[in-house]
C-alpha cells in the first residue's frame, strides 16, 4: 500500500534520503543560484570544468523533497558531460531519471535545469 500511495517514486525518495553531491566546490568554475523564498525552493549548483568537460558538480538546496532529489539527480547526470551535452539536459530528463515527479512538483525539475544552465552561463561568462 505504502509504495503505491506515496507522493514520490522510490527513486525520488532514495535521492531524498541519500542525496548525492551535497556541498560546495572550492573555487568552482561556475555557480548557479536560482529560486526564491516565496516559492520555498532555493538551489545553488557548483561546477568544476576541465577541458570543456564538467568534472565535478555539487549542490546546496533549501526546498521540498522533490527539490532535493532533482538537485541530487542533476548533479549526477552532469558529471563527465561536455558543456554542450550538459546544456541539452532538460527538466523532463531529470524528472524521468527519477521515475517521474507528481505534476505539482514538476517546477522542481525546472528549477534544477535552470540551476544547471545558470552555472554553465556563469562558467562561460568567466571563461570569456
Amino acid at each position: 500500500m505504502r509504495d503505491v500511495w506515496s507522493l514520490y517514486s522510490e527513486k525520488v525518495m532514495e535521492h531524498f534520503k541519500n542525496p548525492r553531491n551535497v556541498g560546495e566546490i572550492e573555487n568552482p568554475d561556475g555557480i548557479g543560484h536560482v529560486g526564491n523564498p516565496v516559492c520555498g525552493d532555493i538551489m545553488e549548483l557548483y561546477i568544476k570544468v576541465n577541458d570543456s568537460t564538467i568534472v565535478d558538480a555539487k549542490f546546496k538546496t533549501f526546498g521540498c523533497g522533490a527539490a532535493i532529489a532533482t538537485s541530487s539527480m542533476v548533479t549526477e547526470m552532469v558529471k563527465g558531460k561536455s558543456i554542450d551535452e550538459a546544456l541539452e539536459i532538460s527538466n523532463r530528463a531529470v524528472a524521468e531519471a527519477l521515475d517521474g515527479l507528481p505534476p505539482i512538483k514538476m517546477h522542481c525539475s525546472v528549477l534544477a535545469e535552470e540551476a544547471l544552465k545558470s552555472a554553465i552561463d556563469d562558467y562561460l561568462a568567466k571563461s570569456k
Binding site: 532555493i42 545553488e44 521540498c64 527539490a67 532535493i68
Partner: protein, 389 residues
C-alpha cells in the same frame, strides 16, 4: 515501526466507542428518518438524541442545531446564508486574515458578488483586538466572523469580547469553533455568538458530519433546497450514522475534557520547551501560553523547508504538518503565518505538531530526539545557512 501520530488538528481517529455506536445505523436501523414506519422513526429518534447532546455541550437549544456535512459546509452556510438573507440591510462583512480557507474563500466569493470585506489586523501572535472590530463596524455591516482558535498556530481569540460588541451593535456574529468544541469549554451564551461551526472528525467523531449552531431568530437563507429536513434549512436525507457518531463523540468529550486539556497542555509545553532548547534558530508561532489551544505546537525552524522536514519525520514514523505549501498550486506558504509577520522562509520552515487522546510522553520524547537530527541533516545542505554566516 510504531507510528507516532501528531496531526490531530488535521483529523482525529474515530473513537472505538463512536464506531460501535454508529454501526447499528448502517444495518439494523437503516431507515430513512423521514419515513413513518418504525425503522425510520428509530433513526429519527437517534438524530434527535444526538441533537440534544450537541446542544447541551455548547449551551444551545436542540432546535438551534443544524447538522451539516462538516465544518466547511457550516462556515459556507453561515456566511452565505446571512449575506444573502440580509442583502437589503447592507453589504459589509468583518473577518480576520487568519481564518480557515472555508471562511476566507467564502468571503472572497462574496466579494466577487458585491459584498465588501474587512480583514482585521492581528498582532504577532495572531490575536485580534476587539477594539479593532468596533472600529471596523459601519452602518452597512451585516456579519462578523472570527474563529475561536486558529487551526495552524493555536491562538485563542477573544470571542466573548467581540460577541458583546457585535450584540450591542445588532450585528450577526459567527465563530468557526472547529478546533475548540470538545477540547475547551464553549458556550454560545457566554460567547454571545449567533452562529457557530463545528466538525465531528476533530473530536474523535467520523468525517463528513458537522454542525452549524443558529441562534433562534437569526435570518439566513437555507443552504440546500429540497426536502424538509433540518426544518427546511438544510435539505437532504440525514447522515444518520455520522450524526449518531457525532453525538457519541460529544458525550465522550464532555466526560473528560478538563482532564484531557490539562494533560495535553503539559505535553504541549514540554514539547515546545524541548524543541526551542534543542534547535537553535527556532521560534514558537502563536500565543506562548494562556491563549493557546492545549494541543497545538507550531515552530518555525530557520534555513530548512517544511516538506523536507515532514518527509524525514515520516521516514521515522512521525506524522506532523507544515505551513509550507510546496505542493499546492500557488506555492505560497501559509496565509496565517504570513499574517503574523513571518518571512516566507520562516513560514516555509514551519512545523505543526497537534497532540491528542493517544499522545504519550514517550512519543514527545521521541520527537525531541529525532527532529534535531533531521534538521542538522537538512541544514548541512541549505544554501540559506551559508549566506547567513
Amino acid at each position: 515501526m510504531r507510528r507516532i501520530y501528531l496531526d490531530y488538528a488535521a483529523t482525529t481517529p474515530t473513537h472505538p466507542e463512536v464506531v460501535k455506536a454508529m454501526l447499528p445505523y448502517f444495518t439494523d436501523i437503516f431507515g430513512n428518518p423521514s419515513s413513518i414506519y418504525s425503522y425510520g422513526q428509530e433513526a429519527k429518534g437517534a438524530i434527535e438524541e444526538a441533537r440534544v447532546k450537541v446542544a447541551d455541550l455548547i449551551g444551545a437549544r436542540g432546535e438551534e442545531i443544524v447538522f451539516t456535512s462538516g465544518g466547511t459546509e457550516a462556515d459556507n452556510f453561515a456566511l452565505k446564508g446571512v449575506a444573502f438573507a440580509n442583502e437589503s440591510k447592507g453589504n459589509h462583512i468583518i473577518t480576520s486574515p487568519i481564518e480557515h480557507h472555508a471562511v476566507i474563500e467564502t468571503c472572497r466569493f462574496l466579494e466577487r458578488r458585491g459584498f465588501r470585506i474587512t480583514y482585521l489586523p492581528v498582532d504577532e501572535y495572531g490575536g485580534i483586538d476587539p477594539g479593532d472590530v468596533k472600529k471596523a463596524i459601519t452602518d452597512k455591516t451585516l456579519l462578523i466572523s472570527v474563529m475561536q482558535a486558529n487551526n495552524e498556530m493555536g491562538t485563542i481569540e477573544p470571542i466573548a469580547e467581540i460577541g458583546r460588541i457585535a450584540r450591542e451593535a445588532g450585528i450577526y456574529f459567527h465563530t468557526d469553533a472547529v478546533q475548540t468544541v470538545g477540547h475547551i469549554p464553549v458556550d454560545v451564551n457566554e460567547l454571545e455568538v449567533d452562529l457557530l461551526s463545528m466538525s465531528a472528525h476533530k473530536l474523535y467523531g467520523p468525517k463528513g458530519v458537522g454542525v452549524l449552531y443558529i441562534k433562534k431568530g437569526t435570518k439566513l437563507v437555507p443552504f440546500m433546497h429540497g426536502g424538509e429536513q433540518e426544518k427546511k434549512r438544510r435539505a437532504s436525507t440525514e447522515n444518520v450514522p455520522g450524526i449518531v457518531g457525532l453525538g457519541k463523540a460529544v458525550e465522550l468529550a464532555q466526560q473528560d475534557m478538563g482532564e484531557e486539556a490539562e494533560r495535553l497542555t503539559y505535553l504541549r509545553d514540554r514539547l515546545i520547551k524541548g524543541l526551542l532548547e534543542r534547535i537553535d534558530h527556532s521560534r514558537l508561532n502563536g500565543h506562548p501560553r494562556k491563549k493557546r489551544l492545549p494541543n497545538n505546537v507550531n515552530v518555525s525552524v530557520d534555513y530548512v523547508e517544511g516538506e523536507s522536514m515532514l518527509l524525514n519525520l515520516d521516514l521515522e514514523g512521525i506524522c506532523a504538518s507544515t505551513g509550507s505549501a510546496c505542493s499546492s498550486a500557488s506555492l505560497e506558504p501559509s496565509h496565517v503565518l504570513l499574517a503574523l509577520g513571518l518571512s516566507p522562509e520562516q513560514a516555509h520552515g514551519s512545523l505543526r505538531f497537534s497532540l491528542g487522546k493517544w499522545t504519550s510522553e514517550e512519543e514527545i520524547e521521541r520527537v525531541l530526539e529525532v527532529l534535531p537530527r533531521v534538521i542538522a541533516k537538512l541544514r548541512a545542505m541549505s544554501p540559506l545557512l551559508k549566506s547567513q554566516k
